[in-house]
Amino acid sequence: MPESTTSLLQVTGLKKYFPVRSGLFSRVSAWVKAVDDVSFHLGQGETLGLVGESGCGKTTVGRSLLRLMEPTAGSVTFEGKNVLTLSAKELRQTRRRMQIIFQDPYSSLNPRMTIGSIVSEPLKIHQIAKGQDLQDRVNQLFIRVGLRPEHQSRYPHEFSGGQRQRVGIARALALNPKFIVCDEAVSALDVSIQAQILNLLRDLQKEFHLSYLFITHDLNVVQYLADRIAVMYVGKFAEVAPAEDLFASPKHPYTQALLSANPVPDPTAPPKRIILPGDVPSPLHPPAGCRFHPRCPEVMDVCKTVEPKLTQIGPPEKGHQVWCHLYP
C-alpha cells in the first residue's frame, strides 16, 4: 500500500536513558537504557507498526518523537526539520503537524471539561478558528469520527471507552496533522470496538493522507493496519520488514518466537510454538553482545560478545532489515 515513499519522518540513533538515582545526594548510579540507538523512517501516508513486549521501550520511542520526553541522543527529522533542536515556539508550531492518541481513553480526557471544549481547545489556542467557524469545525470533526455533535456539552465520564477514544481521535485530528503516534490506541478496548476504531483510523488515513506510528503488542492489529512492522526487544530493534514479509518469513529468532505465540484461527494447524527460556532482561543491565542471546534458541559464541549489525535481507529497496548474527 505505500504508494508514496517520500520520507516524512526520519529517526536516527534515537536514545533515551533514564537515570537511576540513589544515595544521600541522589547521585546517578546507573542508567536504564529504555531506547538504545533506534533508527527508522516513515513515508507519507504510511503506517509503521511497532511491536514488542511490555517495557521494551515502544512508548518511549513514540513520546520521544513528539518531545513529550527529551531524548538523550539522536535526531528526529520531521518535514525536513530536526524536532529535537527546535525552540519552544517552533515546537508549538510543529506539534500542529504531529499528534498522539493514547491507550487509556479514561485518563486521556480531562474529566472536568466537556468533550466539545476538549476538541475545540487546540483550535482555540492555535487561533485557527473562532465563533461560528469554530463550532462548524468541531461539528465536522465529531461527525467525521462518528460522534453526535449534539453530545458536545457532555462530560467524558458519560461515554463508553470506544466513544471516548473517538473523542481522543477527534482532538488529535483537530489541528490537521500529518503524522499521528497511536500509542496502544485500541489495546484498552474490547474486540468489537477495536475493529470499529481500527476501521475509523484506516478511513481517516486514506482521507487525510496520514502517517501512523502504530505502537501495539497485538500482532493481529498490526497485521491489519501496518505497511511495515518494526519488532523491538529491550530497547533495540530486532527486525524491520514489510508486513507481509514479516508474517511470511520472519528472520530474527525473536520475531519467530513472537509470531509463534500468535494464535492461528485454524484448529487443524499443527501447533509449532517456540517457547523461550528465561525472562526478559532488565534494561538496567542488558546482556552483552546481542540482547536476545540468553534466550535465543540458536545462540552462537559471537552473540555473547559482539552486538549484531544491521543486515539487509533481499534487495535494500525492499527494506527488510534484521539485527542478527545468523544473517551475516
Binding site: I125, I143, Q163
Partner: protein, 366 residues
C-alpha cells in the same frame, strides 16, 4: 435509551457507530449534588453551617452596627443569672436586654451571654475562614510549585532571590530565620537538590514543631489582636495542604490528558490552571472544610489559655475561659460556648466527610 432530539438527517450516518446511547445528561455539579444529598449527616452539617453563617452575619450587624444586643453592657445588679431569667426589678431600664429576658443568662459582670455568643460567632467564624484562606494560599502555591516544577534543580536565580528575602528578615532583626533560609538555599544549590526537595524539607521542618506551642510563642511575642491570631493560625497550618496539592499535582502531571495538552501545544499556564488545578481542587476543599474547624478550635484553645483575642471582643473561646472559674456556680457560662464550639466543629467535619465522599471518583455512580 436512544435519545433522538435533533439531527434526524445526520442520524443515519452514525446510528450504527453510536448505538450505545447515553443516560440523561448530568453535569459533574449535578452528580455531586445527587451524592451529597444522599448523605444525611453531611446535609445536617451543611444546614447547621448555613444557620451559623446567618447567625454570624446577624451577630456582626446587631451587636456592632445597630446595637440591639449589647455584649459589653455591665450590669452589677444582674450577676450570674441563669438562662431564661428576667432582669432584676432594680436594674436600669436602659440596660435591660432586648425582649426583656436573658436567653443564655449573664456572667460574673452581668453581661448578657447571648449577646456575647452572638458577637463571638462572627469572630470565631471569620478567624476560621481567614486562617484557612491564608493556609490555602500558601499551601496551594508551595504544593503546586513543588509538584509541577519539582524535578527541576534549584537555579542560581532562586538562590539569589532567597538571599534577598533573607536580607529583608535581617532588616526586621529576625536574624535566626534569615540565616536558616540562606543556609538552606545554599545547601540545596551546592548539592544540586531539586525544588521539590527544598520545599518539602521546609514543610517537614515546619511540621516538626508542635503547632499549638509554636502559635502560643508567636502570639506571646506579637501585639495581641484578632488579626494577629488569624495570620498566625494561617501561617502555621498550611503544611498538610501543601502536601495534598503536591501529591495531586505529581499524579496529575503524568496523566494522559495533561500529556495530550502538552502535545497539542497548550501553553504551560493554561495546562496548570485549566487542566490541573480543577482536578486537584476536590481534596483541597475537603481539607479546607476540616481546616476551618481546626482553626476555630485552635482559637478557642488560645483564648482559653488567655493568649487569644483580647477582651473587648468576645469569642467563644474567651467566654469559655471566663466561665471556667464558675463551673459549679454558673455552669451555663461554660457549657453554652463549649456546646457551640462542639456543634460547629462537628458540623464542619461532617460536611468535610460528605464532600470527600461526593467528590471521590471511586465512589461515583452509586
Amino acid at each position: 435509551m436512544h435519545d433522538s432530539k435533533s439531527g434526524a438527517s445526520l442520524k443515519a450516518e452514525f446510528v450504527s457507530l453510536d448505538a450505545e446511547g447515553l443516560a440523561p445528561q448530568e453535569t459533574p455539579w449535578q452528580e455531586f449534588l445527587r451524592i451529597f444529598k444522599k448523605d444525611y449527616q453531611a446535609l445536617i452539617g451543611f444546614w447547621v453551617l448555613m444557620l451559623l453563617l446567618v447567625t454570624a452575619l446577624a451577630g456582626k450587624a446587631l451587636t456592632e452596627w445597630w446595637v440591639v444586643f449589647d455584649p459589653e453592657a455591665v450590669r452589677l445588679t444582674d450577676k450570674f443569672l441563669p438562662p431564661l431569667s428576667v432582669p432584676s426589678p432594680d436594674s436600669l431600664p436602659a440596660d435591660r436586654p432586648f425582649g426583656g429576658v436573658y436567653l443564655m443568662g449573664t456572667d460574673e459582670l452581668g453581661r448578657d451571654v447571648f449577646a456575647r455568643m452572638f458577637q463571638g460567632s462572627f469572630v470565631s467564624l471569620s478567624i476560621g475562614f481567614v486562617a484557612v484562606g491564608i493556609s490555602l494560599g500558601i499551601g496551594v502555591l508551595l504544593g503546586g510549585v513543588s509538584g509541577y516544577y519539582g524535578q527541576d534543580k534549584v537555579s542560581l536565580k532562586t538562590v539569589l532571590i532567597g538571599i534577598f528575602l533573607g536580607g529583608v528578615l535581617f532588616y526586621f532583626n529576625w536574624n535566626f530565620l534569615g540565616y536558616a533560609i540562606i543556609a538552606m538555599l545554599l545547601l540545596t544549590w551546592i548539592f544540586r537538590l531539586s525544588v521539590d526537595t527544598l520545599i518539602m524539607r521546609f514543610t517537614d521542618a515546619m511540621m516538626c514543631f508542635p503547632t499549638f506551642f509554636l502559635i502560643l510563642t508567636a502570639v506571646a511575642l506579637l501585639p495581641p489582636s484578632i488579626y494577629t491570631i488569624m495570620f498566625i493560625i494561617g501561617l502555621f497550618s498550611w503544611m498538610g495542604m501543601a502536601r495534598f496539592v503536591r501529591a495531586e499535582f505529581l499524579s496529575l502531571r503524568e496523566q494522559d490528558f495533561v500529556i495530550a495538552a502538552k502535545a497539542l501545544g497548550v501553553p504551560e499556564w493554561r495546562i496548570i490552571f485549566r487542566h490541573m488545578v480543577p482536578n486537584a481542587l476536590a481534596p483541597v476543599f475537603v481539607s479546607a472544610t476540616i481546616g476551618v474547624a481546626t482553626a476555630i478550635l485552635t482559637e478557642s484553645g488560645l483564648s482559653f489559655l488567655g493568649f487569644g483575642v483580647p477582651p473587648p471582643d468576645a469569642t467563644w473561646g474567651n467566654i469559655l475561659s471566663d466561665g471556667k472559674g464558675f463551673i459549679f456556680d454558673a455552669p451555663w457560662l461554660f457549657f453554652i460556648p463549649g456546646l457551640a464550639i462542639f456543634l460547629v466543629v462537628l458540623a464542619f467535619n461532617l460536611v468535610g466527610e460528605g464532600l470527600r465522599e461526593a467528590l471521590n471518583p471511586k465512589l461515583r455512580s452509586r
